[in-house]
């Protein structure tokens, strides 16, 4: 029954087709490849839902699982891929070379993510993780002339390679002490084990450390701000949303199938994850207070969110679905909200080439739609009600408190409050600070030198406003973002508010997904 893997085979073939078409499509039409990829991904999502709903199979004798959990994440990753492609079409047209390969790499990385959600064995998990990581290493380096992109990707690949070596060493220690690498077999041998040898502890700790690097949990997070800042904005969005969600899908399945069944006997793994969660929440949110680059701010804030999700993972229990539900629901809500913020930031960057917080001054006058999108997205990320950010935090922190970790839930609430400060800083720039006036007219304006946009083509013609004085509006207007970006932002805003107010349909899907991996849920 390999026919259950048809979406993966189709995705791999489609990625190769995109690479092939890149050879024949003329240079000025390469962006059609982006539309083609987006269309293909939508088709694959429909195909997956039609073919795979309700299946519960284990392929290749226990290596890959096809169940509701993997179907949920497959559709989720395909949807994220569609939205990232839609938001990146203009950016790639303006700022990046070799667009065809960009889309091809994105498709391969989505394949890697799908396999990560399906893998039930350590080697399969590692290989699919590496497929995702390799595509990401190249995508972060894609702005070839930009020294920041080179530096960010160098740091990313060195630390990524180090982390995969650590993960592999952990896998080899687990294998050499237990003799098995499939998740359920690990759980079975842990139940039969009389005492856990130090080598096994070391192996487990190294596996968690290696995966912690991929998640950007503290203290393994040092690559994240540099890679996020150096990468082109759509790739930053993709890193923040999709690679995190994929790594969490993997970690969730690993813990739920290999360690949660033995929690009564060995619950030391919870302590490690709780410590990582607390550190990530605190460090991520505190260091974000000092940032002035938008991409770096989003990087540190995503480290904080990783802390919250890790707190949810620490409370996975064999008899209750709340922890797993909370984690998956948080991932979806966080991704929707981040998509809104990043798409609006991409639109802003396409128009102005700027990415620092002071550059956002007066965006509410210049382009009110984008300002509203960023404001709603940031309010949702900090957890204010009627937006999805509040619902996901409420659910997750309730799940954490239910299992007895009250201090962790309290710490999470405190750091959410702290995060409100730096989100409000951005919103203050947009709504309260006055917009820049045109340089030829005023004598008291700050000429912002963009440092992040060297070597990339920015449209500087927009700063030379015509000399007619409008008394109430002498700010520099921003051109309207493209239709694809407006579509993504609008859809994201509707989803943010709809999921915040009426999350029940999504929660049913999430419960079906977590019931597939938690035994005896």
């Amino acid at each position: 029954n390999l026919h259950l893997l048809t979406p993966e085979f189709a995705l791999a073939g489609f990625a190769l087709v995109v690479f092939l078409l890149d050879l024949f499509v003329p240079n000025d039409r390469k962006h059609l490849l982006g539309w083609l990829s987006a269309l293909g991904l939508v088709g694959l999502a429909v195909l997956s839902v039609l073919m795979l709903s309700g299946e519960k199979e284990s392929l290749y004798n226990g290596l890959l699982a096809v169940d509701d959990y993997s179907l949920f994440f497959k559709v989720f990753f395909l949807a994220i891929g569609v939205f990232i492609i839609l938001s990146s079409i203009d950016y790639v047209k303006l700022h990046l070379n070799h667009p065809g390969e960009f889309y091809g790499l994105l498709l391969f990385s989505i394949l890697g993510m799908n396999l990560m959600a399906m893998s039930r064995e350590l080697l399969t998990a590692y290989i699919s993780l590496e497929l995702l990581s390799f595509s990401l290493y190249v995508m972060v380096a894609y702005a070839l002339g930009n020294p920041k992109s080179n530096e960010g990707s160098l740091k990313y690949i060195i630390i990524g390679a180090l982390s995969s070596a650590i993960l592999l060493y952990g896998i080899s220690m687990v294998y050499s002490t237990l003799g098995v690498t499939k998740f359920e077999a690990i759980a079975q041998s842990l139940i039969d084990l009389s005492s856990v040898s130090p080598a096994l502890w070391a192996g487990l700790a190294l596996v968690i450390a290696g995966l912690g690097f991929k998640l950007a949990a503290v203290p393994f997070h040092m690559w994240a701000p540099d890679a996020y800042e150096g990468a082109p904005l759509p790739v930053t969005a993709y890193l923040a949303i999709a690679s995190k969600a994929a790594a969490f899908a993997l970690v969730l399945r690993l813990l739920a199938e290999a360690f949660v069944p033995v929690t009564e006997r060995w619950d030391q793994w919870q302590i490690i994850i709780v410590v990582l969660a607390a550190l990530s929440m605190v460090v991520g949110n505190l260091v974000a207070l000092a940032q002035s680059n938008l991409k770096r701010l989003m990087a540190y804030s995503s480290v904080g969110h990783v802390g919250y999700i890790l707190a949810g993972i620490a409370v996975l229990a064999p008899d209750s679905l709340m922890g797993a539900n909370g984690v998956i629901f948080y991932l979806v809500g966080y991704s929707v909200t981040s998509m809104v913020v990043f798409a609006a930031l991409i639109a802003f960057f396409n128009a102005t080439g700027q990415e620092e917080i002071p550059d956002l001054a007066g965006l509410a006058d210049r382009q009110p739609f984008l300002a509203m999108a960023i404001a709603i997205g940031l309010f949702s990320l900090s957890g204010l009600p009627i937006f999805v950010g509040f619902t996901i935090k409420f659910y997750l922190f309730t799940a954490v408190a239910n299992e007895g970790y009250l201090w962790l839930a309290g710490l999470a609430i405190l750091t959410s409050l702290i995060s409100l400060y730096y989100y409000l800083q951005v919103i203050r720039q947009m709504y309260i600070q006055p917009a820049l006036v045109a340089p030829a007219q005023s004598d008291h304006d700050e000429v912002e030198a963009e440092e992040g946009a060297s070597g990339e083509g920015e449209d500087d013609e927009h700063t030379h406003t015509p000399a007619h004085h409008e008394s109430s509006a002498d700010y520099i207007p921003l051109p309207r973002p493209s239709a694809a970006l407006i579509f993504v932002v609008a859809l994201g805003l509707i989803a943010t508010i709809a999921l915040g107010v009426y999350p029940a349909p999504l929660l049913e899907l999430v419960e079906a997904a977590s019931a597939a991996i938690i035994p005896g849920g």
Partner: protein, 99 residues
């Protein structure tokens, strides 16, 4: 037969040497070399365990060799791009992105 512990110790020693190399070397090329050493240490561990236990370890080792080769290819491509833009592979001098 030599106990499995000796192979595990050898692998741990190599892993430690590689880790020291990653942390202490200043040239990006030598850092990638040290990462290769760590991956080879993993391979020793896997193959030794496979000889004593059931045998999946050899399959895992082949996959690891392949992935390590691919990773090195990518790492050197990025280092080459870095060298063309900045003229140096000394990681101490690559410090545009701070804090």
């Amino acid at each position: 037969m030599v106990p499995l512990l000796y192979y595990q110790l050898l692998s741990a020693a190599l892993f430690g040497i590689g880790l020291y190399g990653v942390l202490a070397r200043r040239s990006a090329v030598l850092i990638v070399l040290s990462i290769e050493l760590m991956l080879n240490a993993v391979n020793i561990n896997l193959i030794a365990a496979a000889s004593y236990l059931n045998g999946i370890g050899r399959v895992i080792a082949i996959f690891v060799i392949t992935v390590a080769a691919a990773e090195v290819g990518l790492a050197f491509a990025i280092i080459l791009r870095m060298y063309r833009n900045r003229g140096t592979v000394n990681v101490d001098e690559i410090n545009l992105l701070k804090w």
